[in-house]
Point group: C2
Chain length 431, copies 2
């Protein structure tokens, strides 16, 4: 953890370093992933089965390619009732939030008599990647599947690795809550490639979303264009802006809730009171010892954690904008004035009673958010990621007469005579 | 050109081949582009100047890095008045169409007392790539710059190669119409890298859009994630659905307007009348001889052109959906019933008096559209490509008490105790 003060003479240089530190995973897996994708494209299910045997230690021709919906329903029924209710509450609230993202079609006739507009339609099929092992979060499944369902996508195909053939019952239960009925027991780059190109029983999809390890992320990056993808995801981060009126224990827990995800995640506190920062740091140390996730959280905090002491709390906002954080918590009594000045953040958590973790599960907004400073230009996952827009245009003889001559002039200037001619013929202009 | 009939015994196989033919440019430039990007990132303007000297045969340290706005104004003033008016009509209409794309913010308080919503903001800076040479289309400049301006982007930085130091006056005039004042005389992968990472006087941007050759497209693909990009663009295509009541000359000109762009573009006619198809084919042959763009258009038509004879015109729509064409023209008296069944197309041109070329220039909708079957999941360029969405969330003690327990349950089930604790502490629950 580093402590910076804006009054330090070397603050600018050290803050620049914090901003430029991208913490991308070092693994250079590009070549391996390209080889896997190429083989799945050429050999289909045989390649997928082979990689699954190698990486997940089971042969889908024997263990079965798919998990039947009944198994998901059984997993759901076997859950603790509190967890069942929690999943259902999350599902209901996430759906309600995303329902409002459905875009409106436009259609109008303008002064020139041109009828025009745009129409949104869902993609035919979406593929959802759900990791196995440590990062198998049912909440991520909800966050990916529900926007697709709200978009009206008719076919949702989920892939998930089942190492040694074992499935994660929580993931199956979440699939049941989302109504997913097509689940394939494959993962990794081969799972993503199977979704993109199709492989044996797995028919190709149009969009692939969902989190994954470095291989999965690289496969999505390489297949971007063959299919749509949600985004290039990097390590997660949280920035908390807090005054000294907060309970240091609360803020420490907020910072740790990011740190426990992965050793490369980043937690940063901005405050206008150095004594408060020190109290939070002490609480982080104390809480670390109590966490089952301590080994991960400690490395993340010690390596990437930062505290920045500013003179006035509003000074934090332009610095936050440079970080363009995935999560931004504004833990003050009246967060609105600060929020209004924020330009770049994936999601903002306002006030003292909105810990970021609430947004991870049940609040409603999506928790799939741009990382690694990408909130400068990217947005969280939404219904729009599962839809596309078709523009349209209709002219008649009169409106073509109004717009035609300008089109002919521009087409000729650009050296495209057939463009000009397609209009000139209809206007019966001298060619 | 191939002629297929849905009644042919081998139709399914031959149509599959048409759908699967991606016509991507063969040049494998990935390694070269990676080296260029890496060097620009490390060496900045020195690398950009060196590549510019090598590829464009001028040294920006001598010819000047930038083109002053006055030069653009002079270029505009020197244009033929008809062309000036055409550019201004196009600009006005494109702006009017894109004005309607501005997304609405949402903010509401739900039954649980949670305040939540989403806020759209423009990116800070957008970079526009404008090709030099043959494909230097002023219309493309308008189509890229205007959505960025409508989004409210404060800084628009344009890069364009000036081979041998020479600029294209039409491009400068279009830049003047769009109010672009920051123009850099660099192009290629080095121009895209300079926009992404910054280089000497060129400060980095957040989003890079605009067409380019294989090097430019690959640079954008590789830099996707460092910056936002519009899309991976491939060769262009048009599908025309026309009954026999059309003038074959009009439809032939429409097909040729796509073919004259590039030898890899594709023009496809669907009709329910084989004699009409043959008349169109004859007219294409006749018109080809009159075109200055014949060498390109002939290769494109002969290599990639296709005509498909269907039994009933509506049979064409599901086949079109499989092609997911960039441009779809429905040249019939009443196009609406056909249009309502279309699922996948970048832009649709309705009726007999809406040649695709009208949409390229002055109609209003964007002409930057998904190619290579990508309309299955991608949309044309829009204001949204220059904005991003920040979700937000605010709970108070009461609403946290309502949502908190479910969050604690899910966080514990996912093995994330610090997440649970950040909520439990605020609820004063037993940890």
């Amino acid at each position: 953890m580093i402590l910076l003060r804006t009054t330090d003479p070397d603050f600018a240089v050290r803050f620049d370093a914090l901003v430029d530190d991208r913490r991308e995973s070092a693994a250079d897996v590009g070549r391996d992933v390209a080889a896997i994708i190429d083989r799945v494209r050429r050999e289909g299910e045989a390649a997928v089965a082979d990689y699954t045997a190698r990486f997940d230690r089971h042969d889908p021709f024997e263990t079965g390619w798919s998990i039947p919906p009944e198994e998901c329903e059984r997993a759901f029924d076997a859950l603790d009732p509190g967890l069942r209710q929690a999943l259902e509450l999350a599902s209901t609230r996430i759906r309600a939030y995303h329902d409002r993202q459905r875009p409106a079609d436009t259609a109008y006739t303008d002064d020139a008599g041109v009828r025009l507009g745009a129409r949104w339609r869902p993609v035919d099929a979406a593929g959802l990647y759900v990791p196995g092992g440590r990062a198998a979060y049912p909440s991520s499944l909800l966050m990916n599947a529900i926007p697709a369902a709200v978009a009206g996508v008719e076919r949702l195909a989920m892939v998930t690795p089942t190492p040694n053939g074992r499935v994660n019952p929580l993931v199956l239960a979440a699939a049941h809550v989302c109504g997913i009925t097509e689940i394939w027991r494959v993962g990794g780059a081969q799972g993503v490639a199977a979704l993109a190109y199709g492989a044996g029983p797995i028919r190709p999809v149009d969009v692939v979303t969902g989190p994954g390890n470095a291989w999965v992320a690289e496969a999505k990056r390489q297949l971007y264009g063959v299919v749509g993808i949600d985004m290039v995801a990097g390590p997660s981060e949280i920035v908390v802006v807090a005054d000294a009126q907060n309970d240091p224990d609360w803020i420490a827990a907020d910072l740790l809730s990011q740190a426990e995800h992965d050793t490369v995640t980043q937690s940063i506190l901005f405050t206008d009171d150095q004594a408060f920062a020190e109290a939070v740091a002490a609480s982080v140390d104390a809480q670390l010892g109590e966490l089952a996730t301590e080994p991960v959280a400690r490395v993340a905090w010690e390596t990437n954690g930062a505290m920045v002491v500013v003179e006035r709390l509003e000074d934090a906002i332009p610095l936050c904008d440079r970080l363009a954080p995935e999560h931004l918590q504004l833990a003050v009594d009246d967060p609105q004035p600060l929020f209004e000045r924020v330009r770049h953040a994936g999601s903002v958590f306002l006030g003292r009673h909105t810990p970021e973790a609430i947004g991870d599960y049940v609040a409603g907004p999506n928790h799939v958010l741009p990382t690694g400073r990408r909130a400068r230009f990217a947005s969280g996952l939404s219904v729009l990621d599962f839809m596309k827009r078709t523009s349209f245009l209709q002219l008649d003889e009169t409106s073509l007469r109004e717009l035609g001559p300008a089109t002919v002039a521009l087409a000729q200037a650009e050296g495209l005579p057939a463009h000009a001619k397609s209009v000139a013929l209809r206007l019966r202009l001298n060619r």
